[in-house]
Amino acid sequence: MASSAHTRPLSDIEIRVKALESLLVEKGLVDQAAVDALIDKYEHKVGPRNGAKVVARAWVDPEYKARLLAHGTEAIEELGFSGMQGEDMVVVENTADVHNVLVCTLCSCYPWPTLGLPPVWYKSAPYRSRVVIEPRGVLKEFGLELPEATEVRVWDSTSEVRYMVLPERPAGTEHLSEDELAALVTRDAMIGVTKVSK
């Protein structure tokens, strides 16, 4: 039997995408090499490890932390992270008294340069509908139970400003290097649905 370029018929959505892309290429509107380069960048080079480096630097360098909280975009750019969906960044700090959590109830706005592309749950109706009305219940689903006295701040990204949470540095990490600290920082802690643990 002759080999075939594909092993199954294409799905309807695969056909729609191929039709769209091939027409845009033919009309000279899209260069497939540009599409490939963007996919490679956001699949392999941009992601929450970027944000983790920003957080670790803020934990070890008080002057950097002050710049990060005052001028987020510029301080993040100092570490080499900038661009689309992070053009105007605001970093919000978790403390013993305040816990911040991010959402976009209207679409799925998310800080791409520091966190990469958002996970499906962040883009989906269950999270977007509920975190604004019962944030503590949602955080419990992620395993985070906050004291009643903690102020919970829910940031709904309705504009082109993009937010990132600066989590609390866990206790007992005084001996760790900046790189070791960065390895502790998770995507979910920078969205604000969990804390960083040792």
């Binding site: 689309m84 105007d88 605001v90 102020e151 309705t158 504009s159």
Partner: protein
């Protein structure tokens, strides 16, 4: 007409997509001021969520002048105006079901608000 790979990566690394505008527009509000979100129900695009319409909040911070999405989505008029971070208590927004110590911080354009006297 199409951009090549280097141009695409360059654009994705740049702040070129920012909708912040370098133009002088007088802010309608100042930090600390009480506002009420207008009860609007436009047929077209808007970035003012329904759950906040009619609610009172306090201006926390002025982010500067940005493109106004309600006009930009319909014909491209930028209608430059200020965007603010506005703080709402969960009690104000949700009533009895709102958490005692929970607050919402939402980005709101000038055209979506009135001052509370």
């Amino acid at each position: 007409m199409s951009i090549n790979a280097a141009q695409a990566i360059g654009a994705s690394n740049s702040r070129g997509g920012s909708t912040k505008l370098d133009v002088e527009v007088a802010p309608r509000f100042a930090a600390g001021q009480r506002i009420r979100v207008r009860k609007i129900n436009p047929a077209g695009h808007t970035r003012m969520p329904q759950y906040l319409r009619g609610c009172e909040g306090v201006i926390a911070q002025d982010f500067g002048v940005f493109v106004f999405p309600d006009t930009h989505a319909h014909g491209g008029d930028q209608k430059p105006q200020h965007v603010y971070s506005v703080r709402f208590t969960a009690k104000e927004v949700w009533g009895r079901e709102g958490g005692e110590r929970d607050v919402l911080l939402v980005d709101v354009w000038d055209d979506y608000m009135d001052a509370v006297p």
